[in-house]
Amino acid sequence: MKRRDFLKIAAATGATAFTSSVISRSTWAASAPNTPKVLNLLYATAEADSEAIKLILEDFNSKLGVKLNFETYPYSALQQKVFAELAASSSFYDLLVVDTPWMPALTGKIEPLSAYLNNSQLNNSADLNLSDFIPAVFYDAAVYNPKQPHRHFPNANAPVAVDIIKKEGFEIYGLPLQANVLTLAYRKDLFDNPQEQQGFESKYGKKLAAPATWDDFVSVAEFFTRPEKRLYGTTLMAGSGDWAVDDFKTLLAAWGGNGHMITDDFKMAFANPEGVAALSFYADLINKYKVTPPGVTSFSWDDVSDTFNSGLTAMAMNYHDMKLNQGVQGEVAYALVPKKVAAGPHFGTWILSVNKFSKNKEWAYRAVAWLTSAETQTRMLQKQLHPSRFSVYQKAVTDPQLQKDFANFYDVLGRSLAQGVGRPRLTNYSDVSKVIAVAVNNAATGSQQPQTALSAAVPQIKEMLSQAGYSVGNA
């Protein structure tokens, strides 16, 4: 999706959202039947931006007439807590925040929302306007086939509408709130420096700019790699963890492959020529072009932040905005992750869902609708929410304070989300991801050739899928 298209849709949906939100300001809460005193929300401490929720707690209480009891846990503890609560059919938490990779295992325990979305009586607390959600984000994070949760919605660019989703046999299991995607951060001060621009142009015969293609990326990264001055072109998340898979699947999509890596029919779509080319390029950045700092093959997304923020690299891909450390004089700007023959930056979104066992499901739904509404998400921007709605991005890109604090981050974030590619929908994704991460890491360290590393992962993953009950067959 082009920037102009993105802004057009954003403008249209923004206007609708504003009108509806004004209309919906009413004292409906007090008159609604069976109002609970408290709704319990289970949330992620940092990963889904709990500060944004804290910011609107008072508003929530006054607007809905219900107290929101808000508990947060760090990522691993949260996953265990969510799964344990749902496994025990506990009704304690009315609302849950759910990360994308967990959802394939949870569809039977999360309340489907289409009936609630179609019930006008339940939608007077907030402007629903489903078409305001970025389709790629919505379909990847919230729309599942209840009978075959491993399948993705067939058309991820279709406008978001309940009838379209139901017609395909799919359901809506929550509304997206915090949407994360890989973007490319770069040192604007270096890129804008006339001396650097002149130097680059005389060496490569083109203007120095944030790279739009991976070929340009290599040129720019090589140009800025000056180990003697403690400066490197870029850094990567090549350590043996889920983050390495996110880097790899982004490149796989860029090289024209299926960024999901494993198809909905369980075909291995990563160990093919596109996958090998993508992984070879990744390993070459480290071992051939040598544009990364020492230690990159043990880096996670956290190390990428530390390295870029300390001024050690000119570019870096990450899921969030970057802030240079106090001692580093410079400026940060953002660009889309480069393309090769296509683009598909890795993304993953947190959704707010209703616990199937909650005793206050209608109220929980109202809360979800209000918390994910355009108006509430716009307020949450103050606490760096990564919104899931077009109209909120439209506001973000025209807000002078946000532009001052985050440069063009929100513009790039919104456009990146529109072209993002998610994960395969597997109940044992962490096992599968680990095998691919090991392959990527082995190729990155040079201990295995990319082809060998990816081929070695295939039988392991097939075995894991079989053990998890998937019919892999001869796929």
Partner: protein, 300 residues
């Protein structure tokens, strides 16, 4: 209950009544979960779909046995425990010998010694990760300053250096634990045998080898045993420091257990893996006790 007392006497009944709560708690907290673990290991199911639970006999065990990754994890775990505990034992013994004589300096030294193992393992791993960072970590910085290396070592990027890092962290954190146990052993030893050895003309080394060490043996057994059990349970430090990488070179079995049980929630598979590991651990510990505990009162 005193030995030989009639269990049906009033005192016997009172004793049983007093013991019953503790026995019930023990059964509920240890025996029942263990039995449930064993039961679960024969079934294939996930936490969220207990309704789809199906009996698979020994299939979970077979899969764990045949899985090359699990076998590699077990080898890595044994390698880690043997290396770490052996180094800790020797360093701990040396520290204990140095700090055993009662003096003000040694009291201060012993107190300082306590610090590393007072630090939460996860925190220590986070700190070590920063120290080992090849771009701005202190370790590479000072090694370069001292002229010992020309360029930074990428500690966590290659298998040999990652191993040095994880063993070094474990040794730094847990050597004081062994040292303190052995120090207590040394301080409780009577002086007379050493004095007799000195009178008989034994050298310091001979006195240590033939007098001190045999008397210290029960303490060594306890220290090694406790440390080994703890080392087998290592999880947080490795998860933070290397995540099992590079590749799978430092992936302990506990990291796999965590992923299968607490990320994928495959309860049957995780239970089988846990039981296999428990059996392996029991065999190793009992053999170790038999060897180390020879001629000590521990096995009497």
């Amino acid at each position: 209950m005193p030995h030989g007392q009639n269990p049906f006497s009033s005192e016997g009944i009172l004793s049983w009544a007093l013991l019953t709560p503790a026995i019930v708690i023990l059964l509920a907290m240890t025996i029942a979960p263990s039995l449930y673990l064993l039961h679960s290991s024969f079934f294939s199911f996930t936490l969220l779909n207990p309704d789809l639970k199906r009996f698979v006999g020994l299939q979970n065990f077979l899969q764990a046995f045949l899985d090359p990754t699990v076998r590699q994890n077990i080898v890595v775990t044994l390698q880690f425990v043997v290396l770490a505990v052996t180094i800790q034992l020797f360093l701990g013994l040396a520290l204990a010998c140095a700090l055993a004589p009662q003096s003000l300096t040694n009291v201060v030294g012993s107190t300082v010694l306590l610090l590393p193992f007072a630090v939460t393992p996860v925190v220590s791993a986070l700190i070590w990760r920063q120290l080992l960072n090849p771009n701005y970590g202190w370790i590479d910085y000072y090694l370069q300053k001292l002229g010992l290396i020309e360029r930074p070592i990428e500690w966590l990027s290659t298998a040999p250096t990652a191993w040095i890092a994880i063993i070094a962290l474990d040794v730094w954190q847990w050597t004081p634990f062994i040292a303190l146990i052995l120090m207590a052993g040394l301080q409780s030893q009577p002086r007379e045998p050493l004095e007799a050895a000195a009178v008989d003309g034994a050298s310091l080394w001979q006195a240590f080898w033939h007098v001190t060490l045999p008397q210290l043996r029960p303490f060594i057994v306890i220290a090694v045993l406790l440390r080994m059990v703890e080392a087998f349970k290592t999880f947080g430090t490795i998860q933070i420091l290397t995540g099992g990488g590079p590749g799978r070179s430092t992936e302990l079995i506990n990291l796999t257990l965590y992923r299968v049980g607490l990320q994928n929630f495959q309860i049957g598979a995780a239970a089988a893996l846990g039981i296999l590991f428990l059996i392996l651990l029991s065999i190793i510990v009992s053999q170790l006790l038999r060897i180390l505990g020879k001629n000590t009162e521990l096995l009497a």
